[in-house]
């Protein structure tokens, strides 16, 4: 879980590095401005009139800002990006040069995008948050929304959230609207056990061979019938309707 880890990293390495942490929120210029301001890098440049006289200051363009930051960062700079998956191609390519100049970069993401700069970075997978933390998150969200929810109901709703705090909060919001009765889990912490069912069915295949080897016709026939019946039921279970809804 990422949680407050970026803030804690900032505190931890504040004495060793010049640190900047930024989240891309749609505007590249604001993103680079934020980085520059945290590193005490100027974000403005002199404005000149027609005669070449300085008449004030103007905000740097994004390209100029990028170059300015690049000129002022080095091995003693640490850049932290809590939502690294949002970083645009342009930002990532700029970071590529920064990394090659010795800048330390820490990216946090729910999943490794597995391309350009992410391929070069060392990957550390964080542990899932504990059940206790998810429960506390749900309780806190319920308190925030003024929703009175029992411990029993929290335990029932927790499987819908898995170990994802964002889903934990969403489940509580859904509960407030009464949407959890037929809700499906949205987390991806699941494993499909149908192969186990098929493996269990194969026991009847083993039974069939035992019957064949020991000339026990009853075992042979029963094993065969049970195996085929089970496989048939599995096929019947795969009957499906439309995969898409109207408009999809």
């Amino acid at each position: 879980m990422i949680g407050d880890m970026p803030e804690r990293l900032v505190k931890l390495y504040a004495s060793e590095f010049a640190i900047s942490t930024a989240i891309y929120k749609g505007s590249g210029k604001r993103f680079f401005n934020s980085i520059a301001e945290q590193l005490d890098i100027p974000t403005t440049e002199p404005r000149y009139n027609k005669d070449g006289e300085c008449v004030g200051e103007k905000a740097m363009s994004m390209d100029v800002l990028k170059d300015e930051i690049s000129d002022n960062i080095g091995p003693n700079t640490l850049l932290i990006f809590p939502e690294a998956k949002r970083l645009t191609t342009g930002v990532r390519y700029w970071l590529e040069d920064a990394i090659s100049n010795g800048v330390k970069v820490i990216c946090f993401a729910a999943a490794n995008p597995g391309k350009d700069i992410f391929l070069e970075m060392l990957e550390i997978e964080l542990e899932l948050p504990s059940d206790k933390l998810i429960r506390e998150t749900m309780q806190a969200e319920a308190n925030r929304m003024g929703l009175n929810i029992t411990r029993s109901r929290l335990a029932e709703l927790q499987p819908l959230a898995g170990r994802n705090p964002m889903l934990a909060r969403k489940v509580i919001r859904n509960e407030r609207l009464g949407l959890n009765q037929k809700a499906s889990p949205q987390h991806t912490q699941y494993v499909v056990v149908m192969p186990l069912v098929i493996a269990c069915l194969m026991a009847f295949g083993v039974m069939r061979f035992i019957g064949m080897g020991t000339r026990n016709k009853g075992l042979y026939i029963f094993g065969g019938i049970a195996l085929i019946s089970g496989m048939t039921l599995k096929q019947v279970g795969q009957v499906r309707g439309a995969r898409k809804r109207l408009g999809q």
Partner: protein, 338 residues
Amino acid sequence: MAITHAVIAAGGVSLLLGTADPLPLGLAVLGSQLPDLDTTTSVIGQIAFPISSWIEDRFPHRSITHCLLATVTLAALSLVTGYVLGEIKVWMALPLAHVLACFADCFTRQGVQLFWPIPVWAVSVANPRRRIYTGGPAEYWVLAIATAVLVAGIWLAGVGGPQAQVSRSLGLRDDAIATYNRNVSTSEVWAEITGVWIDDRTDASGKYLILENQGSEFIITDGKSIYQTGKNIIVNKLLTKAGEASQRIVKSLTLNDQDLSPVLQNLLSSNPGSTIYLTGSIAVDFPEEIQPVSGGRQLQTLTVSGEAVELNYHPLELAIAQLSDQWATGSITALILQ
């Protein structure tokens, strides 16, 4: 729903353990409810409130009590209890029901943490829309099917289990022999035969008393004559069923140039009301006086070759009539059906 779990587990246990006894089925019902010990809203959770409340406060629903680790723990406890009480198979119903209930929950939308403490939810299929939700219409279908399985399981347990029933339905000889071996010492065993006479291929279907099993064939009688399946009757299907209680005694007689009449009369008088068949080989002084019953469809139960007389399930009354005044040497085995 608790009742769905109970019926699924009881049906599964009756099929897998081949039992219709109340104790294992009761343990199955109990074992099926144990997973829901993690919520205070369940029946078992309300009964064991302090435990369910403690679990509920610490773990998500369908995690610690729905896992294979819990099944293994239950199995260990059941094994010890079963060993102490001398009923291991019966007590295995408890963990079996637990794992069936947990596995059934894999087919619900939320799934279960089958591999707890690994925090993954075991589900039947990846698409949650293809899984059922608790209390929905699909659960009533599951309940109806599970009830049918339970009824079938109880019925099958009464007739020897699914495999035996398949063998019986198909009229397999293995099952017929097994049924014969299982019952012959305490009761009559009857053969319901579907087949034709070997001589003219007319219908020979009917109910015959089995005298003996020889290899994969039977020596049978309809009360009048003796027949052998495969030799006198071509059998298409043969089902064996236990009849009335009966005692079966096998007695050996050794003859050393003795008059047969008193020996056979003594055998008859010492077993009043019994049906007796003789099998063996003897040598007689006047073989030309013996008139074997020949022809017809029945098994040749008496054959004469020189001085040697071979008896093969020959009825005692007939032997007394045919072998009177004969002096014989050899040995005879008498099959006495009381």
